[in-house]
Symmetry: C2
Subunit: 201 residues, 2 copies
DNA sequence: TTCTCCATGTAAGTAGTTACATGATTGG
DNA sequence: CCAATCATGTAACTACTTACATGGAGAA
């Protein structure tokens, strides 16, 4: 516990939640305005973390009060705009969060898998289309992620390989899901048409 | 706001959310009491869906009012206990939900991947331990899931193959994550010690 | 007797979203 | 001039969790 720096920063830092750190991280990567942070999230981490606009502006205020970012008005023409930069304290706080060995639960909430789990309540044909729907969803996702790949490779060339790592993580686990679906589809298809999806005991 | 639902079944069914269908599904698989439903969730779908006890009892009431389950008091000794069975309407509603082609978003919220995405703010050593932590987490998860495998195989032998499908889905996508981590670990380790985790442009 | 499990229920709180509200600027 | 985009802010709401509250039953 580094209770060393006892600017009010340190005390406030303790209560920051993941959304605030996400905002801080995006500012550290060069996102200036709240609007830009939202866009950057949509272009990058949206597949494993989302944040709504309504969370961003309060988070920025919080971070500024804690001294982790500094903001100033920088209107574009007559349109109001506040831009932020990360401070030294902010860099330290971000790194401390990244290093912290708190639990990192893998939180998955997937109605698709839930439905599949209960698919014994369906007839074979319907269960098969459910399985196919789950597969197709992952195929779509892989396609989408592949489209982002060039951006991530570009970031890698510029010295930041981590977006590419998380992208690969996403691509590969959806590919794994596709494989499992493909493995079970023929087995299901082999059952008698019109039968319940379960076999008799 | 509530149009005093006098046509029970159809109108009420429309507003059931995922938690209620999960409860319905568990009753359909033989879970009797609220307590047992909670336990069954913890033993099965907890890795892709969770439900807290505080949601279960209200859901059961809702389902019963909608005629999708029927409950009766069945105390064990002097200990109060209400047991439920799925009704024909309930079976139909469950199947209709499973067949519905609503969107099934794959919702993942993973602080581990978020941290990895921002790992360029760390020095090489710390970034490497983060990557290793993400890998170890998946290794743990695979271990846990393997322990459930026998239960799922047993269910398969008894005619319900779907728990095994979802289990395999979980195992394989975590195995994919482990592979990606193992691929990047040596690359990171190859960088100079003490260097920032990013390479120069 | 005391600990753990069985069993239900609810009040209070958190985290997050959607939707609304406002208005400037740019590009076709 | 109209639509899309840039830009901020907030009120109301939903979904869900945590924690508390209660108490019987079985086993050590």
């Amino acid at each position: 516990m580094s209770d060393e720096g006892r600017t009010k920063g340190a005390t406030e830092t303790a209560k920051l939640g993941p959304p605030a750190y996400v905002v801080l991280g995006m500012v550290s990567l060069g996102a200036c305005s709240g609007y830009e942070i939202k866009q950057m999230v949509e272009l990058s981490i949206r597949f494993f973390w989302t944040i709504s606009q309504a969370q961003i502006y309060p988070s920025l205020e919080l971070l500024e009060r804690a001294g982790l970012v500094s903001g100033r008005e920088q209107p574009r023409g007559r349109r109001a705009r506040r831009v932020y930069e990360i401070t030294a304290d902010g860099e330290a706080a971000l790194a401390a969060w990244l290093r912290a060995d708190e639990p990192m639960p893998f939180e998955l909430r997937d109605i698709g898998m839930v439905k599949l789990f209960f698919a014994s309540a369906l007839e074979r044909e319907d269960a098969l289309s459910l399985l196919e729907a789950v597969r197709r969803r992952s195929e779509e996702r892989v396609k989408t992620l592949r489209q982002i790949e060039s951006t991530a490779r570009h970031a890698e060339q510029e010295g930041n390989a981590y977006p590419l790592v998380t992208l690969r993580l996403g691509i590969e686990f959806h590919k794994a899901m596709i494989d499992v679906c493909r493995e079970f589809e023929p087995q299901l298809a082999a059952l008698e048409p019109g039968q319940p999806a379960t076999r008799a005991p």
